[in-house]
Symmetry: D2
Subunit: 306 residues, 4 copies
């Protein structure tokens, strides 16, 4: 029998699918620029176990910055509150990719979901593990309950080759003594993390952790404490959407994270996680149809927090 | 019969009242510096009509920046979405009172809850009305259901006399053509708005509007649309606590606004508005015991959004 | 008998006068915007006593920022080296009227020839004298040897009325405790100083002081020490031309100061002072034909320092 | 027979040598940190052919940033005025190593004597030549008339390994499309240029070119035009001393360039070039005794331009 969520997703999917195309596919690297811009899928996983999805919801895509939440979760689990000595929890409020703010604040990034902050998190993982990528993937596979999840080495290599601004960020932080490991090693982990590929279905089920107060829905096993989950959710709410956090908070009203691969994931604590994918991005780097779908979903279900 | 809220507030009040004193009373002007730092009160008004309060919850204090939400509401009601042409909706992410950001962004403030943004809102009210202060007070009295609410002219005069940084902000915006009226007139309104005095009880009942989707609880009359209320709530969530928005969102998890008079108001959409008052402030300018009380309240009631 | 300087000036004057008009008259206030843009004059006063001039060299104009050198000289004479505690001696290197730099450097202006620095100098004069404008005019009259020199009260009033950015600067400095007197009083002096009117002939003879190591050429009386004259000359060299100091140093190679009234004065230590006036300004705010004339003069006379 | 310059240098040398030691040897890399801080030498080469020197004036040291003038000269000779499309001529006025200014100005450095500007110059040389280091050394040997001049590969390697801030600068410029070649290749040239070793005698004779309007004193051969020499001198005057350009211009009053190896070179157009070496640096990175000696020299000889 069809659930309500399935019905709602189907309705929204069909309405938004035929809306005029707006925005551009991320042009930075060939591998992303060549994605079919008409891809569109959405999947919702409820804490009750219910699964709903439609469109390209089972096709994998590059999760990009969404991966920052996963690496943060592993580092937070391992390091605890001391993690915040090296990265803040406040929005950056900055229109550009903010070298100056990082310079002004002496190499301590504003939060772990901007590039500089996620790089510091990767540096911590490099300190924690001999093979941090293997550990990160194992962690992601565990919380997703899916042993197939992997990264795309070609995407990682391509992004690393052209990532001059990120190289500027990490070198600045290194000069401020906020990077402990070799730059090359840290950036290698960073770009592999960004190149993880998941489908909407996989993403939604992975992020169910944050909707379930840090416990796996399948087994009840606590991966992080409920306080840690609350903290990560709060950061997603205020910092998950680049320079569009305020607008997103108004329109969607749920903690979430976007990636330039066109994916967005959002969670409703206690209820569900939802992932949507459409590669065309607005000027702020967020998926246009993804935003529309989430906005309508929360209005329709009355589940916005405001 | 005592309600649950009353019981919860009483418990929290007594626990937090005896905690060691931390923080400083705002030192900027004599009128505020002389406030008894041991004042402490809290009041919760539910959309159901229930009223709960304890301590100094019926004593008036200077609401200061909390007034920015009220002037924004009046201007938004009158001007609608066109208001956002002159002021943004994103957090400022800025550690200092941010002249440079305003200069970089050519005189358009980041959001209406920082000083520069609230000044632009006052400028709009000066354009709308011959006697904007009278209109603003009438508006506040209406939504509070209390004809006695007024401002403290001595506080307004004292703050205006020493408000050099605010004078720098408005002069910069005037040079960028984002102020239409005489500087003196606009600042006069701004400082009177900041000097409005209310008790926790009055504040909570006034802010019930935002918990009730823009309608007066008493009569059901719509003051603003539910979309407008949602927008204002989202701005309170991401921008209501100066440079501590991220921390506040984590700890309290409700839209709110603080003032340097030691007041904080927060709302739970659909349920209640709560106001707390304790004059000692942390380094970011937010009431120490006020934050503690709200944090425990949302944990206790399980009403945090995360 | 004609001197060499006279011959050179006449040659240059005729060549440059007929060059195509470029640039714009300063548009900020009506009094300056209405100046006949074809005005053009130049005057050179040598330490030997020789006087040479041509064109509108005896017509008065608004010296504007050139006056900053004169107020600095009086304050330096009175206060000595302690003056540099409140204002620096380095170029500002800043493309815009630099509120952010002033904010970053906590209200201490980079040098006394940018607006913020000249305002601090005026504040010092307000502390030194009961009637600082009268004292400043007496000082200027003395070093110019001309009792007729005065300011234009209408220009001063007009500039003050529209000087929002300067008002932002002084309010920011006041909030940083780098302004001791009433803002209104300081700005009053500042705008009257800018509105001083002189002809090229008067300007050149006034600035002969700096070419003569701080002594009056007429009487040999020392007004400032030779070290003070050297310091002021060095500041004119590195900071006298807004954001075009490097270009000017290359082209003209003499210490100097420009004003938005279209005047420029330059000095060759030991030899002469030269003043030129042409109201059309380039994008950096410096007189187009004035720059051309000085550039050719130093090339022709081989007197550039490089 | 002793010349006057020799006598003056000897007098100054003995007076300043015994002054109390102040400042610190540059600590960035072991090779520089281990230099004997008591080293002190000075050499003056006049356009007349006269040579004067004393102390450690024939001992080689790392010229560091002084090399920026030499690479600029070669690039300017080859590329002409079009060079200024990619780097400015104005002082940077910036207290820190200015990533933010570079970001604000979209990757175009303020001038060719700050690190970012010198890196852009190296990038041009990498485009011009297959083996740019060999060409640069050949050029330096030619204008110095000394075939022995070389660089210290160990110093270059050490600085490159720890040059995180410079790596941040070039990556930022690369992301702004102001670097054409491989980052590694450009930085390799940059650090080898900085590691060139010369004695005071060699430096003074090399910089005689700029005192001689771009012609070799020995043969009269023009290496650059006199206009180019004037331009480079003007840039040394306004930008040669980091954030201390204004102070240096006042005290020394000659175009010059300092390096963190403790060397300073200054030129008096038409007369002489003088090089001084003392490894202890002030807080701005300029040699303490070097500054003292040059200041006294220009006062003594009356050769300051002011």
């Amino acid at each position: 029998m069809k659930t309500d969520y399935q019905q709602i997703l189907e309705e929204l999917y069909h309405v938004i699918k035929v809306k005029p195309d707006a925005g551009q596919v991320a042009p930075y690297i060939p591998e992303l620029a060549e994605i079919d811009p008409s891809k569109f899928g959405v999947h919702l996983a409820a804490t009750s176990g219910e699964q709903s999805g439609i469109g390209d919801h089972r096709e994998k895509f590059s999760i990009q910055s969404i991966g920052k939440v996963l690496s943060l979760t592993l580092a937070f689990q391992q390091r605890g509150e001391v993690l915040w000595d090296r990265v803040g929890v406040e929005p950056s409020g900055n229109p550009f990719n903010s070298l100056w703010q990082l310079e002004y604040e002496k190499g301590k990034p504003r939060n772990p979901l901007i590039n500089s902050g996620a790089i510091v998190i990767c540096d911590m993982l490099c300190t924690l593990y001999d093979d941090p990528l293997t550990e990160l993937l194992a962690f992601v596979r565990k919380i997703s309950g899916n042993e197939e999840i992997s990264c795309n080495k070609q995407v990682a290599a391509s992004e690393k080759k052209l990532g001059f601004r990120n190289a500027a960020l990490i070198n600045l932080m290194k000069s401020c003594h906020n990077i402990d490991n070799e730059i090359d090693e840290v950036m290698d982990l960073y770009y592999h993390m960004c190149s993880i590929e998941m489908s909407c279905e996989e993403l939604a089920n992975t992020f169910l952790l944050y909707a379930n107060h840090g416990k796996l829905v399948t087994t009840g096993e606590p991966v992080i404490t409920s306080s840690m989950a609350k903290r990560i959710n709060a950061i997603m709410q205020t910092c998950g959407f680049y320079d569009e956090a305020g607008e997103y908070t108004f329109k969607v009203g749920l903690p979430g994270k976007s990636g330039i691969g066109g994916g967005i994931v959002a969670i409703h604590p206690g209820s569900y996680a939802v992932a949507v994918w459409s590669p065309r991005l607005n000027a702020k780097g967020n998926s246009v149809k993804g935003m529309q779908l989430l906005e309508t979903l929360t209005s329709k279900t009355g589940l916005s927090i405001f």
